[in-house]
Symmetry: C2
Subunit: 241 residues, 2 copies
DNA sequence: CGCCGTCTTGCGTAAACCCGCAGCTTGTTG
DNA sequence: CAACAAGCTGCGGGTTTACGCAAGACGGCG
């Protein structure tokens, strides 16, 4: 006897998931559906859901936010994230909120039926983590040191993306002005902002700060949902003076 | 006897569209499918497609690019855009490329079956433009003057989003440095960057330039695909010296 | 312990940015 | 034509960035 909650924007995908769950998990007797993050949180609470399939990109309240509050209330909940994209921003966002030892999964929508069903069984029955190969690559890169970004670098990237001044960042992160600028330089380095900037003409130079943000976007280190979350955190911080 | 080409990333949506076309257009005898923009362009060329349903957001080559090259070759092609979002960035992108007098449509994926089928008939049979109400609102706002952005303002927004310096923008757009800065000020005004910046403490000031880009993103004036296109144009321009 | 690499901080400078002020060129309107 | 709004431009100056240089601080490691 098992109950599964599906949180997914798109009706088509929702019914597809419903079918997939039925097919992969005969021991599951009830499937409930939510069409956005807010409703998802509520249903999870009401039903004390232990097994959730969650879309990441939703209009009303995105999957990461929803998962965070759900996990905060019941950390042993098993959540399978099912997403269109494997942006580093999402991967980073997810790994930041998963509780210690929790079973979760990350499967791309482009995966085959088989893969999805296998993931459903592995996570919900066997309590194993299942992370799509493609996503796994990013995860390694972002956590390891190879070519990836440190947390502090990522932090400052977000800060300039939000449009904070050096001084404001310094205050927020408890650093001196110069340290902030140091980190910025590291960031510029890693993002190859110079190469594209300098080229060799004095002509077409870039504004490093703005360019860094753009490059990060184009490389999917940042995306809309990451910005949205960061902006919310910023507002929160601003009110706490 | 009619032939319809479907260009859509997601297999689920693709088959849904296929069914919808069959149901709405009995006079249509062949439906062909493409799973990304590149293939879509090729099939459109090979089949001399006159009726196309096109997704906007696709990984390989997005709908706007594809539509542009298709329309360049055969401007009387009828295209129905079918998109998840109604970001101003998309709306602006589409209206920029639609040829004079061409019949096209813009329907959101959240629309009902009925609406989709109606749109299919209106555009492909009656040669009428059908634009989703929600999208229409944006279009009006962006073309009209009410609260919307001038083309020149939008242009400069894109330029700073790309990370160009004032000087570079001036060169690119054939303006003086000061004029560029004037436009920036207008932009800052319209985006309300000051209000959120000034607040009243000297404390948490924003870097106006970076903040403007963020606000634009959060308001969906910009999105990934718009950035991508703009970046491509920029590179092109850089090479033409 | 001394050596070394990484991180932080202050100082100083050149460049870029933000913007008020004022003169000019337009297109529009009575 | 006069008048007026809207946009372009140069000038000047206050602020913010970007970054080299150099002096500590901290943590391994032989």
């Amino acid at each position: 006897m098992m109950k599964v909650l599906i949180v997914e924007d798109d009706p088509l995908h929702r019914s597809y998931l419903h079918e997939a769950v039925n097919a992969a998990l005969p021991e599951c007797d009830t499937v409930i559906e939510a069409e956005n993050g807010t409703v998802g949180e509520k249903l999870a609470r009401d039903h004390k859901s232990a097994h959730i399939v969650m879309d990441l990109q939703m209009a009303n309240r995105n999957g990461i936010e929803a998962a965070r509050t759900i996990w905060k209330e019941r950390p042993e909940t098993r959540i399978l994230f099912w997403s269109n994209y494997s942006d580093e921003a999402y991967v980073r966002g997810v790994s930041r909120i998963v509780p210690d030892g929790a079973a979760y999964g990350y499967v791309l929508k482009s995966a085959s039926d088989e893969r999805l069903k296998l993931a459903l069984r592995s996570i919900f029955i066997e309590s194993q983590c299942v992370i799509d190969r493609e996503v796994r690559g990013l995860q390694q890169k972002s956590l390891g040191q190879t070519n990836g970004f440190t947390d502090s670098e990522y932090e400052i990237l977000v800060d300039i993306a939000l449009g904070l001044t050096d001084r404001a960042i310094a205050k927020r992160r408890g650093l001196s002005l110069r340290s902030v600028q140091n980190r910025l330089q590291q960031l510029y380095d890693k993002l190859d902002v110079y190469q594209s900037a300098g080229d060799d003409h004095e002509d077409g130079r870039f504004n490093l700060r703005a360019r860094a943000v753009t490059v990060a976007f184009l490389r999917k280190l940042l995306n809309y949902s990451a910005l949205e979350r960061a902006e919310a955190e910023l507002q929160e911080w601003l009110e706490g003076k």
